[in-house]
């Protein structure tokens, strides 16, 4: 479709365990800084300790009016903070005409876990009434809603939920809406604040949490480590960005989506491969054009083997020449925000010609036999890259990023 609009990334915002602004995240990501540490979680007289990747000392007041922040769950505060950064980073001046053409489409997996647990705790402790803001705080669309209110975007706004693929599904939908002209500019990404006693106990019961750190693709990996945070992208058409002289990070070149239709927790290489192949086809890219893949790379036994097989299925011999790394080794698995944090990593990789590392890598696994960039970032030409996200429930989403200009 030669007449189709091309969509570019002109702003980035990030609230993460390894940096609460783009510059810090950028520095720590490529220096292999690991944001994982043991944290105690309590609920009444119960207490437990898990290794997690927390956003430490987050101060919503830096980004949000204090009175408005009290209406928001932590995940919505993350969403607004990251969106505010991305919008400011883009340098865009919003006119009423542009505002009506501006969309907010963000992903979240659970959303307001903190609010849910605090509310039950209040009742369990003998209170007869919940906090009056319980419902507005716990709506999973609250992230998108508060971003739209904060930035004054009055075009289409909604939340996408597909577990760990939520943010990348949101980006794919946004790309399609911008191409087709439903909107002209958008904030997209994901936010999650899932480090709560109840969430951790739930993941613990699935027996897939690591007892120490996340070691994606290595023989001695021991499971996933939960994280939290948000990342947002400012998207607009190439034409509009060029017309206003905006700094363009990269092109959001294509997306692919699929469902495994197989198992609620075990992922399928065929489904992942279809999503990757779909993203390539949609972007008009060949396997030979891809230099880097930011993997889903959870550090679980099943994901890492499955993802390796899927990359081999799609890329054949080219797979040997692609750098594949998992940033979850540094900032953990932020569920509905994971694909957004990893998208910022992917965009920075393409912009800087620098592949972020897979940290904590211990010994090669014969079943994971690709180039995982262990231990240190690598300078290399990156013309185009994929960002993989595969959600529980077998919902897969992949986006392609291409160097601009």
């Amino acid at each position: 479709m030669p007449s189709e609009r091309r969509i570019v990334i002109t702003g980035l915002g990030v609230i993460s365990p390894i940096g609460q602004d783009l510059a810090t995240f950028n520095r720590n990501l490529f220096n292999g800084v690991c944001g994982i540490e043991p944290v105690d979680f309590t609920w009444r007289d119960l207490s437990t300790r898990f290794p997690v990747a927390p956003v430490k000392n987050f101060d919503p007041a830096v980004f949000i009016d204090v009175k408005k922040a009290s209406l928001m769950d932590r995940f919505a505060q993350f969403a607004v903070a990251a969106a505010r950064q991305a919008f400011d980073d883009s340098g865009l001046v919003l006119t009423p005409e542009l505002a009506a053409r501006a969309a907010v489409i963000t992903g979240t997996s659970v959303g307001s876990q903190n609010t849910i647990e605090e509310s039950f705790l209040k009742l369990a402790n003998g209170s007869t009434r919940a906090h009056p803001f319980t419902i507005p705080r716990l709506m999973s669309n609250a992230g998108s809603s508060h971003v739209s209110m904060t930035l004054g975007f009055t075009g289409p706004a909604f939340t996408v939920a597909s577990a760990c693929a939520s943010a990348v599904h949101a980006m794919g939908v946004t790309l399609q809406m911008l191409r087709s002209g439903v909107a002209d500019l958008a904030i997209t990404g994901g936010a999650e604040a899932c480090l709560t006693f109840g969430t951790l106990k739930g993941w613990e019961a699935l027996r897939i949490l690591s007892p120490d750190v996340c070691r994606p693709f290595s023989a001695r990996r021991s499971g996933l480590v939960l994280g939290e945070g948000a990342a947002m992208l400012m998207l607009e058409t190439l034409e509009a960005a060029q017309a206003r002289g905006a700094r363009i990070y990269a092109e959001l070149a294509g997306y692919g989506m699929s469902s495994d239709a197989k198992d609620i927790t075990t992922p399928d290489a065929g489904g992942a491969a279809r999503a990757m192949a779909g993203a390539l086809a949609d972007a008009g890219l060949a396997p030979q054009d891809i230099d880097y893949i930011n993997a889903h790379g959870t550090g679980t036994r099943v994901n890492d083997i499955m993802e390796t097989q899927a990359i081999r299925q799609v890329f054949g011999d080219r797979a040997e020449h692609i750098a594949v790394s998992s940033s979850k080794s540094m900032f953990g698995h932020a569920l509905g925000a994971a694909g957004a944090l990893e998208m910022v990593a992917t965009v920075l990789a393409v912009t800087r010609d620098l592949a972020p590392p897979t940290m904590n890598y211990l010994e090669p696994d014969p079943e994971c036999d690709l180039d995982y960039v262990p231990g240190a970032a690598r300078a290399m030409p990156i013309r185009a890259a994929l960002n993989d996200s595969f959600g529980f429930g077998g919902l897969n989403a992949v986006v392609a990023v291409r160097k601009s200009g």
């Binding site: 699935l206 027996r207 897939i208 007892p211 021991s222 198992d263 927790t265 550090g299 036994r301």
Partner: protein, 84 residues
Amino acid sequence: MSQLDEILDIMAKVSMVERSTLVPDAKISDLGITSLDMVEIICELEDKYGVELPYNANMNFQKFPTLGDVLDMIQENIAAAGKG
């Protein structure tokens, strides 16, 4: 009913496989017991016997190729906790 029978009954119920196929030499993968089934089985046994069973789907699944291997782990932990 012996403890082993109780454990096997729980395994059969949770994974919905024929109780008679649950013999120690059987490979777990051949029995049709999925990793999610195993997580559910372990959880039920922990509740029943009041013990913690060290099971991580990432690290341990391959260490228990046969049903006997996982039964040994379960019974050793129940005995060590003095809950038999």
